[in-house]
Symmetry: C2
Subunit: 159 residues, 2 copies
């Protein structure tokens, strides 16, 4: 079973131009052509493109993705290299996850902050609350947002 660039683009929820661009950049050396020069994508190519999409989503550059594709094209000699790449990528993605969770904490704090401000009619209310008026889950976030340096030595603020 094979697909044209337009069909494959639809299956991947992208555009033909993007796939041609990837091809031009050397990311799709596995894609075959018909006698008249038209790209013929297979189900296996679809799998490759899913992997490419996965790596891209986790922030890998097209250049690095190309390196991986080249490795794979070289065959079994590069198995370990590829394993290392995915192990490294796993680390990177786990770090990303942790970071996004941290920013989610900040966003949740801000939601509470503006919810409170809305009820009170002014941002001065949440802004000036002392820690014991704030839900505990937000204590750490507020401290982190305020402290210009991470040293916990002292934190006197006088204006």
């Amino acid at each position: 079973m094979s697909y044209t660039v337009g069909e494959m683009a639809k299956m991947l929820n992208t555009t033909p131009s993007t796939l041609r661009y990837y091809d031009k950049e050397g990311l799709l050396p596995f894609v075959g052509r018909s006698v008249s020069g038209i790209r013929m994508f297979t189900d296996t190519d679809y799998e490759w493109l899913q992997i490419i999409g996965c790596l891209k989503k986790t922030g890998m550059s097209l250049k690095d993705i190309r390196k991986y594709i080249y490795m794979a094209m070289q065959g079994d000699d590069t198995i370990d290299e590829r394993l290392q790449l995915f192990l490294k990528q796993k680390e990177a993605v786990e770090k990303q996850l942790a970071e996004i969770n941290e920013t989610l904490d900040i966003i949740n704090f801000k939601c509470w902050y503006y919810q409170t401000a809305k009820e009170a009619g002014s941002t001065e209310v949440p802004k000036n609350m002392s820690l014991d008026e704030i839900p505990e889950q937000f204590h750490a976030v507020r401290e982190k947002l305020r402290r210009p340096n991470k040293a916990e030595t002292y934190e006197q603020k006088v204006e």
Copy 2:
């Protein structure tokens, strides 16, 4: 307590150029200047920059961040708008989290795949394994990677 652009850049783990660029783009209308025109960042500015960094990390464009800053500068009339913005951003980030978790599944599968290939000396081994030879946790991922389109969608295939 006030800081120069270089000091603030260090505190935020960025560069002076980036901060000047943000300023030029209108993201930092709150930053004051000394008599001689030098930017003077305060602790409050640091908090703003943390929020900007948070929004940026979750993929918000500088343009949209500027909109938010402008809202905030307008005062209490925009509290609800800002609340809505953060609620929307919360949704977006939760979706991001789900997506990253999905790609992490794929990466974990690939780690297992290449680990298995390494032990066997060839990618043919994991590639040709039947589902019951594969750890259950990877069943769903492998199916997803392989299936060119969902069962319910109809898509004509060229042969």
